[in-house]
């Protein structure tokens, strides 16, 4: 039951006000007001067991997906996970200051990322390493953020993948503005139209900026897909701390569609994202997608989830792994040989090795970097600070101080 309104909100009418509905902790956990169950409205095309569920509404959006395509999606997810695990290990070994794992969210990210057309724009939060991959951002280009050498070294305009945004919710407004721009430039209205996708988490939905993004996008008919990865946790807080209702229903109050998809199902995510992006590029935006998934690792490498959640939960979600179900499906129904899997395995080892190699050899940024590119047109005050600092620092080179 994904619409628990009836028990919290009796209808007006004869008689005294209804008694307070006080769910017990157990009821909450059991999902009485939960935002965490799948529910009948969850779009799923591939079960955790790897079986294809026919769905007349959504099948058309993936009817062109060949076995080859599915293998590519599989490959994307495996490589993404491998990059994620390698980076996590690099952090453990002191090569990165921190890492933000996406483990478990590969399908949500690859499915939506692969739904994008080249002309589309994406605004990530900080966990979208899989989406970055689909936009042609090299995994090595992500590392600087976490090693502390830069704030992201890819070209956000060339890749059409904005820089990571760490302040929760900020990017939603930036994306809304960008999408408004697409519309103002007349780039919306047909199959070649442009669209924007914006990623944020379940926790982010509480932020004022996300709301304002919903208001702006709906008022300006912006071609914007709000892509909420509900991984069920905002650090230590479960989604119940952010909402009474499943998050996709938030859209109902703004007058645009909200839809919940199994975020561990790459095919369903692809289908729903394609539909949503198409709606947007044709001028019917915005759309909200809630990808229902699970953060299988810690929030970041500095987090300790054992303090706030039970390992049972993780075990249950392991059975819904986004990669495994595709693997099973490919083997059982798509005549995929071991060779393919071995090859993807090799490729991912290769990628991981390159990542490691790159990471270990990343140069330190020069001190002048602190002062560089703050302003397009410079600042005499800052320039003077830079000059004084560099002169001061030069005193140490072979100096005596």
């Amino acid at each position: 039951m994904s619409s628990p309104e009836q028990w919290t909100h009796p209808e007006p009418g004869v008689g005294p006000a209804a008694t307070a509905a006080k769910p017990t902790a157990e009821q909450v956990i059991a999902g009485l007001r939960a935002t965490s169950e799948g529910g009948p409205e969850l779009v799923q095309l591939l079960t955790p067991e790897g079986e294809r569920v026919p769905n007349s509404q959504w099948d058309p959006y993936v009817s062109d997906v060949t076995a080859e395509d599915l293998r590519n999606l599989y490959r994307d997810m495996v490589l993404t996970r491998r990059v994620d695990r390698e980076a996590n290990a690099l952090q453990r070994q002191g090569q990165l200051g921190i890492w933000v794992p996406l483990l478990g969210q590969e399908a949500a990210q690859i499915g939506s990322g692969r739904a994008l057309k080249p002309q589309d724009m994406a605004f990530p939060s900080y966990r979208e390493h899989g989406v970055a991959w689909t936009r042609g951002v090299k995994p090595t280009e992500l590392l600087g953020i976490f090693r502390g050498t830069d704030h992201g070294s890819w070209d956000p305009l060339a890749n059409r993948f904005h820089l990571y945004t760490i302040v929760i919710g900020n990017q939603v407004l930036n994306a809304a503005g960008y999408a408004m721009g697409q519309r103002f430039e007349g780039k919306v209205g047909d199959d070649d139209g442009e669209a924007t996708i914006c990623y944020f988490g379940d926790g982010a939905t509480s932020q004022g900026d996300v709301h304002e993004g919903f208001v702006w996008a709906s008022v300006y008919d912006a071609p914007l897909v709000f892509f909420c990865q509900n991984n069920q946790w905002a650090i230590s807080e479960p989604t119940e701390r952010q909402s009474r209702l499943p998050l996709y229903q938030r859209a109902r109050g703004y007058g645009f569609p909200g839809i919940r998809v199994d975020g561990n199902d790459v095919l369903a995510t692809l289908a729903v994202s394609r539909w949503a992006l198409d709606e947007c590029r044709h001028g019917n935006g915005p759309v909200l997608i809630e990808a229902f998934t699970y953060r299988m690792d810690a929030h970041t490498t500095t987090d300790d989830p054992t303090r706030y959640r039970l390992s049972d939960e993780l075990e249950a979600w392991k059975l819904k792994d986004p990669i495994e179900r595709v693997r099973v499906h490919l083997v059982r129904h798509m005549d995929t040989e071991n060779e393919f899997f071995d090859q993807v395995q090799d490729e991912s080892d290769q990628l991981a090795a390159e990542l490691r190699e790159f990471c270990q050899n990343m140069p330190e940024p020069p001190p002048g970097r602190m002062f560089s590119e703050v302003y397009a047109e410079g600042s005499p005050v800052l320039d003077a600070q830079r000059d004084a600092y560099l002169e001061y620092a030069a005193g140490f080179d072979g100096g005596e101080h």
Partner: protein, 340 residues
């Protein structure tokens, strides 16, 4: 810079010179900027049909259409946050914040995105946007309509901050700010919107980030900006009658500040009074004092004195005359400095 083409607006005939109010000047400057560059868009609350509560955007929506002059939803974070996205897309948004006290809902977007995105992207993204803020008191308004928040932005690295004090500067500075590839906070002295001056469209404007000596003097230096410039010029005129020649410098650029003319002046006068209506604590006036005492240590014949708003919330308007620095308080400080 060429005179603005005003073929679309019947009420403003093309002339090479015109007597205009500061508000009208901004309006003409915005119009010129919009004509010069189709990527310039104006956005904010009530900037369309109404032309803004101060009419600074009057007629722009009529002439440039609803896609270039946007009446936005009522939320300042939304205004600035979407302007960031529009700027990334290649637009040059000019955002109006209706009153100084309403910029705070947008503070996060300004500090975390507007100020940092260029640095974060190492120059791959420019944010050529202007945030217009009518600021300061003296208009008898209710709470939150008379704030002077410029120091918050001067303290924020990555932003540029300017303030105009007269119609001529207003006309040029708004256009220069819009052409600037950096984000500019543009503080408009709202109590001076109705001050008039002769505006020569063919003149060559000063650079945007340069302070200006508005009155030469030998006895003491006054550094000020925005609405207080007029107050200080009046003070200087009064002082002159008593034989004291005050040098008045309009800073114009608040971040980065151009203090060289102030240093030069203080080296000659030995006395500096800084005037600003913002509360003094941890402010631009503190910054000026801190820098001048360092640069002009041996020239100073008295400590640098500050005449500012008090470190209290802006009062109910019946008290604002007492809160705001005025001629008497400026002269009192000058006298204290000269008599040190």
């Amino acid at each position: 810079m060429a005179a603005p083409v005003m073929n679309k607006s019947a009420e403003s005939p093309r002339t090479s010179s015109q007597t205009v109010t500061l508000g009208k000047s901004l309006n003409l400057g915005l119009r010129a900027a919009m004509e010069a560059d189709p990527k310039v868009i104006v956005m904010g609350e009530d900037v369309g049909k109404l032309g803004g509560v101060f009419r600074i955007t009057d007629g722009l929506q009529k002439d440039f259409g609803e896609q270039r002059v946007l009446d936005t939803p009522l939320a300042e974070s939304g205004i600035i946050g979407t302007a960031v996205g529009l700027a990334i897309r290649g637009f040059r948004p000019v955002c109006e914040i209706q009153f100084d006290g309403f910029i705070f809902p947008a503070f996060d977007q300004i500090v975390s995105q507007v100020a940092k995105l260029r640095f974060r992207s190492q120059g791959k993204i420019n944010l050529p946007m202007v945030i217009r803020v009518p600021f300061g008191g003296g208009i008898g308004a209710v709470e939150h309509h008379s704030e002077s928040p410029e120091s918050y932005f001067a303290h924020t690295a990555g932003l540029k901050v300017v303030s105009c004090s007269n119609p001529v500067d207003a006309y040029w500075m708004i256009q220069q700010a819009i052409r600037c590839d950096d984000p500019v906070l543009f503080f408009e002295p709202k109590r001076r919107y109705y001050e008039k001056a002769e505006l020569d469209f063919d003149a060559k404007p000063e650079p945007l980030f340069a302070s200006r000596v508005l009155r030469k003097g030998t006895h003491a230096t006054i550094a000020t900006y925005g609405p207080m410039v007029k107050t200080c010029l009046e003070s200087a005129a009064a002082a002159a009658e008593e034989g004291k020649e005050l040098e008045v410098i309009d800073l114009r650029a608040l971040s980065p500040m151009d203090l060289t003319p102030v240093y030069d002046s203080v080296r000659r006068t030995g006395h500096l009074v800084v005037v600003s209506e913002a509360p003094g604590e941890a402010s631009l006036s503190s910054e000026i004092a801190a820098r001048v005492q360092q640069e002009c240590f041996y020239s100073l014949e008295a400590p640098i004195l500050r005449v500012t708003g008090f470190d209290a919330p802006y009062p109910p308007s019946k008290l604002e005359e007492e809160f705001l620095p005025d001629l008497d308080r400026v002269l009192d400080a000058v006298d204290r400095s000269l008599g040190w």
